[in-house]
Symmetry: C2
Subunit: 192 residues, 2 copies
């Protein structure tokens, strides 16, 4: 068993807020720092451009500026596209932070539709190559009796990842750091 | 044992963001909805006026508008003053929501200093009477081997409360719903 994946490792889960493409140019991205599956230890926040290309750099900067950075082992994002068709370059994010990088989504992505949509954006074909660089999303089980989640990753051992996903998933099939990041990000969209 | 306090009850923890009295007139308040101590189920957000008198109404409104409201049993706030010397009228919040209301703080409040500071604000003496209406904060143990927290409450049985505090405190001595609400609220102050 890889030492890296012992229980209680520090993980940052990343998710973005809902937004309105008609009026929003920036979207809030939340980082939820978890010790294992049970203890939220911190919350980070940044903004990225809707359909832009700054997500990888912005997320890396947010993480490296945090006082938690030295204890983090792993970045887990909700998908490799964020804020519309902004994207997470997993290889680059791993290079910038020295952390393992995993993307999880709760249903099988429709790669053809994504590919077609990206063609309407600057550098669309390049974006598609980047998000597919580490292969298509792979089904993995995070919770017994549940459907699989779909996973892309860099700098990880698949067997250790399979075990980790089960350890940090306690509600539904999304791992806690990402599930909670999304809950916090949803509140960002509240207008009161 | 009161049925109300069985494990896994739904609690909303309330905390406000840091703010700058020189420039901010409104402060974000976060509600973290927990199922027991372990599962964050939702995050709510509102704003209240720095040193104002709208916190009780604003928090009640935020809670009653939530889809979680019907399952909630209990409101737990971080102190009875919020956003400076805005205040939570526990009796009124209980009346407005029909929920038990508890305030927890991690050290013994200096009541004389609070009383003196309130005198500089509109309705200062009335505010002090409201926050002391249910008696001064009472020391209670939330985690063995830790110092007490200081608690004020309405519509609660003290014995059940003592047990509940231990069940929902897993890190340090602040109960999870309030600890996590504060972590989320801290991120609100991030300027990126």
């Amino acid at each position: 068993m890889n030492q890296q994946f012992k229980k209680g490792i520090k993980i940052i889960g990343i998710a973005c807020s809902p937004f309105n493409r008609e009026k929003d140019t920036l979207v809030t991205v939340i980082g939820a720092i978890y010790r294992g599956s049970l203890l939220l230890e911190g919350v980070l926040k940044t903004k990225v451009t809707v359909d832009g290309e700054d997500a990888t750099d912005r997320i890396a900067k947010m993480i490296k500026q945090s006082s938690h950075y030295q204890q983090l082992k792993l970045i887990m994002t909700r998908g490799v596209t964020i804020a519309g068709f902004n994207y997470i370059d997993q290889t680059k994010l791993n290079d910038l932070t020295d952390l393992s990088v995993i993307s999880v989504v709760d249903r099988e992505p429709d790669l053809e539709t994504i590919h077609a949509a990206l063609k309407n954006l600057p550098n669309g074909e390049e974006r598609y190559q980047i998000i597919m660089k580490n292969g298509p999303p792979k089904p993995m089980i995070s919770s017994s009796n549940e459907e699989p989640i779909y996973v892309q990753y860099v700098n990880m051992n698949e067997e250790a990842l399979a075990q980790l996903l089960k350890e940090i998933t306690i509600a539904g099939r999304m791992p806690e750091p990402v599930r909670v990041a999304r809950l916090i990000a949803l509140a960002e969209a509240t207008n009161e």
